[in-house]
Structures are given as C-alpha cells and as structure tokens.
C-alpha cells in the first residue's frame, strides 16, 4: 500500500521563481490496484510520481510504502527500496546509450551480484515477452522509440517489483506498441502488482481501478 499525507513539493524555494508543484496532496493506493494520474501538463503528475517512486523527496509531508515512512529513509535505504520493490517506466525511456538491450534490462541486477549468465537468461526471457528476441544485442541507438520503450519496460520488470510507476509510457510510441504495453500492464495487475500511471491515454481507463486528477499541484 502507498499512502501520502499532506505532500508538498516546492521548487526554487530560495529564488524569485518559486513553483509549488505539489500542494497538500493526500491519497491512499491499495495493494494490487491500477491507478491513473491525469491532469494537464505542468499539473504536478511527474513530480508526484517521482516522490512516490522515491526518485525525489517532498518538501513537506509524508509518504508510506507498506506502512514504512520512506520520507525519512537514507539515500542507501531508498536505493535498496527501489531495487526491491519499485520498477520505473520513464516517458523518455532513460536507457544507457551504447549498451546492448539485454544489459540495459539487467542493469539493476549488476550490483545485486547476479552472474552474467543468469542475467542474460533473465533479460532474454523478458525481451522475448516484449517481442524483442531479435534485438537482444542491439544498443538503444539501433532501436525504434517503441522498441526502446519495451526495453525500458523489461528493465522495470526485471527485479519483479511490487510497484510499477509509469510516467506517460505511451506518449512516445506508436499505437501498436501502446496496445502491447496496455496488455502487459494489465497482466501485471492481474499478477498482483500495484501500478500507478500518469497518462492522457484514455485506453488506460478500461483497466484502471481509480483515476486521480491533478490541477495546479492539487487533487481535484
């Protein structure tokens, strides 16, 4: 379960151009639920995802994951939490350049001490699921946007996360790949994964349990 209490994020606190990206947000996301985050551009969706995904810290407020207040966690504890529980799918993929797909997929497993052979086997099975069995050794530069997104999804799944956070996952990919992604996320939901997606794509409404709409940093 993910829970947020009075979450605020203020950018440029000590400058003239302060931006209140998230303001007094409270919510609870039950385990095994599919949540959609909607709202116009600049409404604070990405900031909120980054905070609940532990990639950024709130200015004030608390976030709890499985009952633990993660806002007080140290940097190492947050890394450990991300490694064990969270998979991130970024809007702009964030793959490591010039690194083969299989290595990009298994990048999170390297510091876990998993041997190369095992990592390769795991990456291959995930890339097969993504329909990229013939792109295992291709670097991101040699892949289309859709293929890159699928590699990024495989990377998000490689550590069998309990939570998947996706930020506009279909904004840079074609219709066909979007449909595939939707199916993958739907399957994951049925397997017990908690999914939070920020999107404008209305097709997600069909599988979502709940939709939060944001405007100017607040829930509506």
């Amino acid at each position: 379960m993910i829970k947020a209490e009075k979450l605020c994020k203020l950018y440029g606190a000590h400058t003239k151009h302060k931006v209140q990206a998230v303001e007094e947000v409270n919510f609870t996301i039950p385990k095994n639920s599919f949540i959609i985050l909607k709202g116009p551009s600049g409404s604070g969706k990405t900031t909120l995802l980054n905070i609940i995904g532990t990639l950024d810290r709130p200015t004030t407020g608390k976030v709890f994951i499985d009952g633990e207040e993660i806002t007080t966690f140290s940097d190492i504890a947050l890394s450990s939490l991300r490694r064990q529980k969270i998979g991130f799918i970024f809007q702009d993929f964030n793959l490591i350049p010039r690194l083969p797909s299989w290595e990009n997929v298994t990048y999170p497993l390297i510091p876990m001490g998993i041997p190369v052979k095992e990592r390769f086997t795991k990456a291959r099975s995930l890339l097969e699921i993504m329909g990229l069995e013939d792109r295992i050794t291709h670097a991101p530069e040699e892949l289309s946007g859709g293929q890159q997104q699928r590699v990024a999804i495989a990377r998000a799944l490689v550590n069998n996360p309990e939570i998947i956070i996706a930020d506009e996952p279909t904004s840079n990919i074609d219709e066909e790949t979007s449909a595939k992604l939707l199916n993958i996320l739907s399957d994951l939901k049925h397997k017990g994964t908690t999914i939070v997606v920020a999107t404008h794509d209305s097709r997600f409404n069909e599988i979502a349990d709940e939709t939060f709409t944001m405007k100017k940093g607040r829930f509506q």
Binding site: N50, S79, S80, F88, P108, P111
Partner: protein, 382 residues
C-alpha cells in the same frame, strides 16, 4: 564477491563504451608518466654504474688540497704510504683530459696491473710497451681506430701513441671517451711525471682509521685530503639525488600544465555520465556502488595508461637510447648518444607511476561522480 566482479566487468565495458574518453585520458597519463619513468630509469642506471665503479676502486683516496679543491699528490710519499700497516695496495693514478683531434677525451694513466677487472679488451691486448694505449670501444668506433694505428694528442705531438687494444668497460658512459695508458706515459703526456691526481689506497678491512692516523704523521705538514669509499658513494648518491630532484622540479612545472588537461579529460563527457548515474540510482544502485564502479574504471584506465607508459619508456631507452632525457643526466653527450645509455627499471617507479595515474584520474572523476550520485536521481537524470 559476485557484485564486485560484475562491477569490474561493467567498468571494463564502460571504458570501451566511452572509447574517446578512455583514449584521451590514457594519452594524458602516458604523456605525463613516460618521460618521468624514462628519466628515473636512466638516472638509476647511471647511479648503479657509478656505484659499481666506486665499489671497484680503493678504500681510501688521497689527494692534496689547494683552494679547497682536490689537487695532485707528489709521488715522493708513495713508498712510505705502502709501508703503513693495513695498506694492501697504494695505486697512483693520473686522470686528465686532452684533445684527441677535436674531441675531448678522458685519459687514465695507471699501471696495467692496477686496471680494474671490469676493463677487458675486446680486441688486441693490454698495453705493455711504452706509448701503447688501450681505447674505449665507442671512442675507437668514433675515430675508426684499429689495432696498431698510431696517433698523438692535439698540442702534444712529440709523443706518438699506438693503439694496442680496444676495451669495453662495464659502464658504457665511461667507455665513450676513455683512453688507458701507463702511469708513466700519462705523466709524460701532461708534463707532470712526479705527481698523481690521486692515490687509491686499498686497505685491510677495519684498518682505515689507523691508516688515517699514520698518514697524518707522514703528511703532517702538507695540505692533504683523505676521503673514504663511503664519502665517495655519498657524493655519487647525492649528485644523482640532486639531478633527479632538479628533473622532478622541472617536471612538476610541466605537470602543472598537464594536470588541468587530464582533469578536464577525465571529467570529459560528464553530462552523459551524470545522466547515466541518475539512471543507475533510479534503478536501485546506491551511491557506494556507483562510486565503486567509477573507481574500477579509473583503476583500469590507470593500469592501462601506466603499463603503456612503462612499455613506451622501455622502448624509448632500448630503441631511441634515451634521446632528449639522457643529456640531462650525462654531461657532454649528444642528443642521440653513440654509447648505450645505462638504465635500470625498478619496480618502485612503476608502482608509483600507477598510483600517480590513479590519483590523477580519481581526482578528475570521483568528486564529480559523487556529486552526481548524491543528488536525487531525478536531478541527475535531467
């Protein structure tokens, strides 16, 4: 353990992935370390040869003192010195310089039975008759001298010498311009038959202080100077330390210019790296793991750079005979010496080079990497 192996393998892969950066940093490391290793190796080589020569020489050196400098010692005391208890052998020498055509050569006048064992003829024989000399192999090569050739020194045409043999001493640098002749011939050549430039005294171990006391009673009223082997060794070592020190000081100046280059180079592509570090953090890596990876990268690049620098130094000495650097340690030699410049590669400079390269590359990368990995992944990925 597997984690560290994974990080090491990834570090090696990253060096290949960031090929341009790897090459630039490696070149910087090589450019800085290679001349330094070459210089230290040459210095060590010459020092070793010098100390070997000192080791082979007498236990005490007797000269006279004039204006605070060594000056010639009259031979009238020689027989008395030889009778001192503890003296095994007293060997008078004349060491001087004279022009052979247009080249200044070092002439050593010494009786043939006292010539160091390291000097052996590679052709011809040792001088036996008056006016016979043996010539250093490099000198013989320079003047195309053959056994039996006759010549005289410039400004002293009355004395005609015959080349009896060509020798190769253990030390190449001394052999370049050295000429051995009998003590008597040298005295006649320089017009000083009654003096020696020094007398080498070989003593029974543990008798040096008694010998010094007896010498005092013999030379009480003379301005003499007595030096033992340890002092000579100390002078040699000090001399090389000074030269190495001057070289290092000059090098540090060059370094001051090189360091910014290497720092820029090792931080080269930092914006790419910053984003990568952000991705690593976002996918569960912690700061220590990121820094371990960066350290492995610098370790590998330093190892590679230092190894190439060492190989290049060996090549520089073996193939190019220490060109440019040899001159700094050996006086009066040409840019490309005709003799083999001595060298000695010790493990310590190798290790120091490696650690120095590591330090340089680490300074250039670890702080920026730490900065990138200690901010939130979102900021680093921007």
């Amino acid at each position: 353990m597997n984690k560290h192996i994974n990080l090491l393998l990834l570090a090696a892969e990253n060096l290949l992935r960031h090929r341009t950066k790897t090459i630039v940093v490696c070149l910087c490391v090589i450019a800085i370390l290679s001349p330094f290793i070459t210089a230290i190796s040459i210095s060590e080589g010459i020092r070793e040869q010098s100390l070997a020569s000192v080791e082979e020489g007498g236990d005490l050196y007797l000269t006279f003192d004039e204006f605070g400098r060594n000056t010639s010692v009259p031979l009238k005391y020689l027989e008395e010195i030889r009778t001192i208890f503890g003296v095994k052998k007293a060997v008078p020498r004349i060491i001087g310089r004279a022009y052979f055509q247009n080249k200044l050569v070092v002439i050593v006048g010494i009786n043939k039975e006292d010539i160091p064992d390291s000097v052996s003829c590679i052709s011809g024989r040792m001088f036996e008759n008056p006016n016979e000399v043996i010539i250093g192999n490099e000198l013989a090569r320079h003047f195309h001298l053959r056994i039996g050739d006759q010549f005289s020194m410039r400004g002293q045409q009355r004395k005609v010498f015959t080349a009896a043999g060509v020798f190769t001493p253990d030390s190449g640098i001394w052999g370049a311009s050295l000429l051995f002749m009998s003590f008597k011939d040298a005295g006649e050549l320089f017009g000083k038959p009654e003096v020696a430039t020094d007398i080498q005294i070989y003593s029974i171990p543990g008798h040096n202080s008694e010998i010094a006391t007896d010498l005092y009673s013999i030379l009480m009223n003379e301005p003499y100077r007595l030096q033992d082997k340890q002092i000579i060794e100390l002078f040699v070592k000090k001399g090389f330390l000074l030269k190495e020190g001057i070289f290092t000081a000059l090098y540090v100046v060059a370094f001051a210019l090189g360091i910014p280059a290497i720092l820029v180079a090792s931080g080269f592509g930092l914006s790419d790296r910053r984003k990568e570090i952000g991705i690593m953090k976002a996918t569960g890596w912690n700061t220590l793991e990121v820094l371990e990876l960066i350290t492995f990268e610098q370790l590998l690049i330093s190892l590679l750079g230092a190894t190439i620098a060492i190989l290049l130094s060996i090549f520089w000495i073996r193939v190019f005979n220490g060109i440019f650097i040899g001159q700094f340690f050996i006086a009066e030699i040409t840019l490309l010496p005709k003799f083999t410049v001595p060298s000695k590669f010790l493990p310590l400079p190798f290790l120091l080079s490696f650690f120095f390269a590591l330090l340089l590359t680490m300074v250039g990368s670890i702080y920026s990497s730490w900065r990138a990995s200690s901010v939130s992944p979102v900021v680093a990925m921007k």
